[in-house]
């Protein structure tokens, strides 16, 4: 709930964005929601710290996934 209140505070920022950016922003907020439990467990006084860490974490996971996919792709494209 603290998280939702913090997200609310970013509304002015959100409104200043274009539609495609707003969608990306919403996805970032969903990344925060997906790690709400760990963020709560870390009990950080400044909640945005936990939010940025959640976003970094989701990016890192995506990166790893892309890397693995790329490796697979490379190996199929390489001439035997």
């Amino acid at each position: 709930m603290i998280l939702e209140r913090e997200i609310q505070k970013w509304e002015a920022f959100l409104r200043a964005l274009r539609k495609e950016d707003r969608e990306a922003f919403e996805e970032l907020m969903n990344a925060c929601r997906s790690y709400a439990s760990a963020a709560g467990a870390s009990a950080r006084p400044v909640i945005t710290e936990a939010m940025f860490m959640s976003i970094l974490l989701s990016h890192q996971k995506n990166l790893k996934e892309f890397q693995a996919a790329l490796e697979r792709l490379k190996s199929t494209l390489q001439p035997q």
Partner: protein, 730 residues
């Protein structure tokens, strides 16, 4: 005090004991107490004074001198406590044991409990009791009790009856035999009812809505026919009120509830099946078990919130230990800075579920995790952060609070017996081959499960007599550590954590067998010292995303099928009380169909089947083949009708009822049918169920979209957008 006993011959006797209620007063000095006795209007109320030594507060290690005031009866209690408050300028004198219900006070003092096997003798108006039983006993006999089920059929003009509608039939059921009272004259029916009840002489009267409606209704009809003084349902004459007693609106865990005032019968137990979820779920066995252990009268245990039973056993323990119970709790929270508060003030831990469908997921649950932790770690308001053991080795993880090493806390003392009994009943249930015994033990252990739930929540609650938030936080911290340690262990053994919440984990490992899960449980119990049980493996389980943020996991929204075919669902329409029958039945049938799938691949193949079922139900709605009852939505109103500014549907329904002169209060559930959801005039949008005629023209489109939503909700991980639902299945 009147006590009803059942003799070995099966006779019912009323014993009246000349017993007086009492309370205690403490003051900064003995002199102050001495002075108080001069000023109090002793003779006016017939009070007696004694000086006694008691522990005034859980933390106290020495007894102090307090004044015991005994009263002739409870009527002067409020008056006298008010006088004492004023005499001490509202701060000097502290009052103790003031608001313990008298029947409970009597039980504690005499060391008795409901359904105890006793020997009683009466002399000069005094009863002396010889207890030949123990609350610790696990193989007691419940004396054979005669039940009568009481129901009335009413000639109602609307969908729901009112006090003005005449009685059609009164139905009684005793020993499987149906008795129908349907004589032509209404007054005659009531007279026959009184006569039949007197002849049957039941110990328990089970009614459907006795508290909320039926008893007052019968009294009203009796009044109308001039036979009110003849209406008698108890063993002793005591009229039933023709005016509906105001029930209670109360607030619990963010929700407003309404509970009808209890209707008690002298000498018989009245259990209202609609007001006693406890009886419905745990039966007489569960109810008696709790009444015995918690020393609370059956009529209270069947109606009050379960926390009250837990409170009662704590009050009993305090009385045993000579500890006084404060009138107004003051076990203050220890001072904390903001940082500490942030770390301390957290609930249980959870792992967000991984969305979508998973194969071969096992569920493991800690049984009674919080109570067991509180018992093992000695967590209690007076032991957490105690002054006597600052260097204690028993410390709370993360928070570092010290826990007493010298004495056992009141909460662990109380929990010890309950946990032991629950564990015993569970073993007996699994051991026995007789179905009746199995059911008996299961009801008893299940009743503990729910009562034990309240012991930890109760410590943080302001009405709890022995609560302290620090103790609550300590229990949560231990629980978080346990869950995290357990998760780590599972991961080390190659399991993937699909979901975890407070005291249970959903784990997945390819090709893991039941044996692998059982072995993991054994290892966890060994490491943590807490019993954990393996609930079973799901063929498949679907975790659903949030409704507002698609793609974001939420707690408690899932459904799945165990290997034995049992379905478990949480947080979806069919589990919600406010869903119309037609919608929940459709969703249930769809899940039953999907449950035939052995794995996720088969599940996906069956989705088209699900859509056919949805179609079948949608057609029924569109063709007007659905009954009023199946269309009714039931919602709890959180405010009184006139406090609603907006036009939410339940508010419109409540206002409609109020306009018709019916009593509606915050916390009550109102039923209504959607007539025309988008009508400009709010009062035309819906119709309160009580006011609806047998056939109404409902808003079919609206009901079909409710149905569609229910289908979409359970299939959302497999469909990207709502619109595509109909596109997917043209």
């Amino acid at each position: 005090m009147a006590v009803w006993i059942k003799t070995e011959k099966g006779e019912c006797l009323k014993l009246v004991d000349d017993w007086r209620p009492y309370f205690y007063v403490s003051a900064p000095s003995e002199e102050d107490l001495e002075k108080l006795t001069w000023y109090l209007p002793r003779n006016e109320v017939g009070a007696e004074f004694d000086f006694v030594e008691k522990f005034a507060g859980l933390q106290d290690s020495e007894r102090s001198k307090v004044l015991k005031i005994t009263l002739p009866d409870a009527t002067s209690l409020r008056f006298l406590t008010g006088v004492i408050w004023r005499l001490g300028d509202y701060e000097k004198y502290r009052l103790w044991n003031v608001d313990t219900p008298l029947p409970q006070m009597y039980l504690y003092e005499k060391d008795l409990f409901p359904f105890a096997y006793v020997e009683a003798s009466v002399e000069n108006g005094k009863v002396s009791w010889k207890l030949k039983d123990s609350a610790e006993s696990v193989d007691y006999q419940i004396p054979s009790l005669r039940n009568v089920k009481l129901k009335a059929e009413i000639d109602s003009r609307g969908a729901l009856p009112t006090f003005e509608d005449p009685i059609a039939k009164i139905l009684l059921e005793a020993d499987g035999e149906q008795i129908t009272i349907d004589s032509a004259d209404e007054g005659e029916k009531i007279l026959t009812l009184t006569k039949t009840i007197r002849e049957l002489d039941p110990d328990i009267v089970l009614s459907e809505g006795g508290d909320n409606f039926l008893f007052t209704y019968l009294a009203r009809r009796a009044l109308k026919n001039g036979v009110l003084s003849e209406l008698e349902l108890g063993r002793e004459k005591a009229g039933i009120n023709v005016v509906q007693q105001k029930g209670n609106t109360y607030f619990s865990y963010g929700r407003v509830y309404y509970r009808a005032a209890p209707q008690r019968l002298l000498g018989r137990l009245h259990i209202d099946l609609e007001n006693s979820g406890f009886y419905a779920r745990y039966g007489l066995e569960g109810l008696v078990e709790i009444a015995r252990t918690c020393r609370i009268p059956l009529y209270s245990a069947s109606r009050v919130t379960i926390g009250t039973s837990m409170k009662s056993v704590q009050l009993y323990q305090a009385a045993r230990d000579d500890v006084l119970v404060p009138w107004k709790k003051n076990e203050p929270e220890n001072f904390k800075n903001a940082r500490d508060l942030l770390v301390a003030d957290r609930g249980g831990f959870y792992f967000e579920p991984k969305l979508g469908i998973h194969d071969n997921v096992g569920e493991i649950d800690f049984s009674s995790m919080y109570p067991t932790l509180m018992l093992k770690k000695n967590i209690s308001p007076e032991t957490v952060g105690c002054k006597c053991c600052p260097d204690s080795r028993n410390r709370v993880p993360e928070l570092g609070y010290n826990i007493c090493e010298k004495r056992v806390g009141i909460i662990p003392k109380v929990l010890d017996l309950m946990l032991k009994k629950r564990a015993y009943y569970k073993t007996m249930r699994d051991k026995t081959s007789s179905p009746e015994e199995k059911a008996k033990y299961d009801q008893r252990q299940a009743a503990y499960k729910i009562v034990l739930c309240t012991c930890f929540g109760y410590m943080g609650y302001r009405n709890a007599r022995f609560g302290k938030v620090d103790a609550f936080n300590a229990a949560c911290a231990f629980a978080r550590k346990t869950l995290l340690d357990t998760a780590q262990l599972a991961e080390q053994r190659g399991f993937e954590i699909v979901h975890g919440i407070v005291d249970s984990l959903y784990l997945k490992k390819q090709d893991a067998s039941d044996k692998d899960f059982v072995e993991l449980c054994r290892e966890i119990t060994e490491k943590t010292g807490l019993p954990i049980s393996y609930e079973g493996r799901y063929r498949w389980i679907v975790f659903l995303p949030s409704k507002t943020h698609l793609g974001v996991p939420v707690l408690n929204r899932f459904y799945g099928v165990f290997n034995d075919g049992k379905i478990k669902a949480r947080g979806i329409e069919l589990r919600r009380g406010d869903t119309p029958n037609i919608v929940s039945r459709c969703q249930d049938e769809i899940i039953q169909e999907l449950a035939k799938a052995k794995n996720s691949d088969e599940f996906m193949q069956r989705i088209s089947e699900a859509f056919h079922m949805y179609r079948k139900y949608a057609d029924k709605i569109l063709n007007g083949e659905v009954s009023l009852k199946d269309l009714t939505l039931s919602k709890r109103i959180s405010k009184n009708p006139d406090e609603y500014a907006g036009n939410v549907q339940q508010a419109i329904a409540a206002k409609q009822l109020q306009r018709r002169g019916l009593d509606v209060a915050a916390g009550q559930i109102v039923g209504y049918v959607i007539m025309d959801a988008d009508n400009k005039r709010p009062e035309r949008r819906i119709l309160a169920a009580q006011l609806a005629k047998v056939s109404v023209r409902y808003d079919a489109g609206q009901y079909v979209s409710l149905l569609e939503e229910a289908l979409h909700n359970i299939l959302s991980p497999f469909i990207s957008q709502k619109e595509s639902l109909t596109k997917l299945f043209p």
